[in-house]
């Protein structure tokens, strides 16, 4: 059981200005929830509280029924800014979590090799992060989290630095993995289409102070309209039901952006 629950969470940093206000969000076990919202509304802050890096000023954040007190490998994080270790090679970066879990050497090598193949970085195993492009670094950060096979995946704009083609490949791969081996995912993105394509539910946040404005159920539509029968992302994105949900979320977000102009 690895649900994530935000229970009346409020957060202010030092100064007392409210960053997050009364956040209530339940991510069920093995559910994929995406958060969209204007820049600076507190999405990363939500994710950091689930990860155990920040703590709520009021309310509680629970993962699997116990309050989050510290970070741990049961909740793998893909950081918005990658946070790869510059002094470690691609392999060493991906391998560290497995070494910490005392996974035997042979199994470790095999799992790292699989992860490297998944992100398409074969041949770069011994490169250092500074020798890779931003998109390649981001893929290493994704592999570093995936390889742990964690109960909970916390992903902060993980495809933000990728080119359109690579992004599509990674999105399709993520969907494939999610169907094959579902796990609890909290996924932050600026891409509305990405959110609708990947998530079971999409939470829309308001601008500061961040609140959950609306939660859109995608899963029931996906099942009813049989999105899974289309293997390619562009075919799904053409479906009328997809376009309808996307437009709905767009409008909702747009009101937030417009509100910021006052």
């Amino acid at each position: 059981m690895s649900s994530i629950r935000f229970d009346a969470v409020g957060k202010s940093f030092g100064g007392g200005v409210l960053t997050l206000q009364d956040i209530n969000l339940d991510v069920a076990d093995k559910e994929f929830v995406a958060i969209v919202g204007p820049s600076g509304c507190g999405k990363t802050t939500c994710l950091r509280m689930a990860a155990g890096f920040d703590f709520p000023t009021s309310g509680r954040v629970l993962v699997g029924n116990s309050e989050v007190t510290k970070p741990g490998p049961d909740r793998a994080v893909v950081f918005q800014q990658f946070a790869l270790f510059p002094w470690k090679t691609v392999t060493e970066n991906i391998e560290l979590g497995l070494r910490n879990k005392s996974v035997a050497r042979d199994e470790r090598k095999a799992r790292v090799a699989d992860a490297v193949a998944m992100i398409g970085l074969g041949g770069y195993e011994n490169s250092y992060p500074h020798q890779l492009s931003g998109g390649m670094q981001q893929r290493v950060a994704i592999a570093r989290a995936y390889v742990l096979d964690p109960q909970v995946l916390l992903m902060d704009e993980p495809f933000g630095a990728l080119d359109a083609q690579t992004r599509v490949v990674m999105q399709e791969e993520l969907v494939r993995l999610a169907r094959l081996n579902p796990r609890t995912v909290l996924f932050i993105t600026h891409g509305v289409e990405e959110a609708v394509y990947l998530a079971d539910r999409v939470a829309i946040m308001t601008r500061r102070p961040g609140r959950i404005k609306e939660i859109v159920d995608v899963k029931s539509v996906r099942i009813a309209e049989r999105w899974d029968s289309h293997s390619r992302i562009e075919d799904v994105m053409d479906l009328e039901s997809f376009v309808h949900l996307r437009t709905h979320i767009w409008k909702s977000l747009r009101e937030e952006k417009a509100g910021a102009d006052h």
Binding site: A51, G52, F53, K70, P71, G72, P73, R75, A76, V77, F79, Q81, A83, L84, F85, P86, W87, K88, L96, G97, N100, K101, Y128, P129, H130, Q131, R144, L148
Partner: protein, 260 residues
């Protein structure tokens, strides 16, 4: 253009400085205004240097004295690095240890190495331990402080990533704090080497029966000012060699980290 010119320019200017210095020195000592023992000329010193390379003074040739100085330096310096760097990293990681050690360390580091001479003499006589203690007290503070500051200034994102991956504390120190602090640690090792080498000679002036410092005290008693100057030159020269060696290591590590 400037990139090509720069090393040549620097070499030229450096040579000008040296020529100017030796020229002025030779002019003053050769002018007859001062007695040769009061300020020996560069040529006298050079002749004395060649002499001391083969002939024994105060129990050995210059190289014998240098060798025993270097041994003491190596012992005291390596001890300072071996204790200072890990302790600094640990203090940077564990708040409690920091709170215990910091007040004591802050007090101790203002005591000049030479102030340890009376106790060095009392505890070790003129043996190996005295100068080693004094070098240690000179080299230790920068080794510890720089490791500590390096560990304190590690980008918190790396620590968060390590904790998220379930990295145990010992491994966070060796695989995150240490590599992230390497530039700062190396800078500390360079400063420590300089201070250690300086305090060594100070220590040998008082608590040793060999070494360059001892050679210089004996020369002072024998009113051989040229020998004193040979000692001074040797100290400067070895100091530069030590620094160049550490700088080479530093540059190599920076290149390996790709400027990260």
């Amino acid at each position: 253009m400037t990139d090509v010119m720069d090393p040549a320019r620097r070499l030229l200017l450096g040579a000008c400085g040296l020529i100017g210095f030796f020229g002025l020195w030779a002019a003053i000592s050769g002018s007859g205004l001062v007695a040769p023992t009061f300020l020996p000329g560069p040529l006298d010193v050079a002749r004395r240097l060649v002499f001391l390379l083969t002939e024994s003074f105060a129990g050995g040739t210059l190289l014998v004295h240098l060798w025993s100085s270097l041994q003491r330096f190596a012992a005291g310096y390596l001890l300072a690095a071996a204790v200072g760097v890990p302790l600094g990293l640990l203090m940077g990681r564990f708040r409690t240890l920091d709170d215990i050690v910091s007040p004591l360390f802050d007090g101790l580091r203002f005591i000049a190495p030479i102030a340890w001479v009376p106790f060095a003499a009392l505890w070790f006589g003129t043996g190996f331990g005295g100068p080693v203690l004094i070098i240690f007290s000179g080299a230790f503070p920068p080794c510890l402080l720089n490791a500590y500051r390096g560990a304190k200034h590690v980008d918190p994102r790396y620590l968060e990533a390590a904790e998220m991956l379930g990295t145990p504390s010992g491994r966070i120190i060796t695989e995150v704090l240490l590599p992230a602090s390497v530039p700062s640690i190396i800078a500390g090792l360079r400063i420590g080497a300089g201070l250690g080498w300086q305090s060594l000679v100070g220590a040998e002036l008082i608590v040793a029966s060999t070494g360059v410092g001892y050679l210089m005290v004996q020369a002072q008693s024998a009113v051989s000012t040229t020998t004193v100057m040979v000692g001074m030159a040797a100290i400067g020269f070895i100091g530069v060699l030590i620094d160049v060696a550490l700088r080479t290591i530093e540059a190599r590590i920076h290149r390996r980290l790709g400027g990260a």
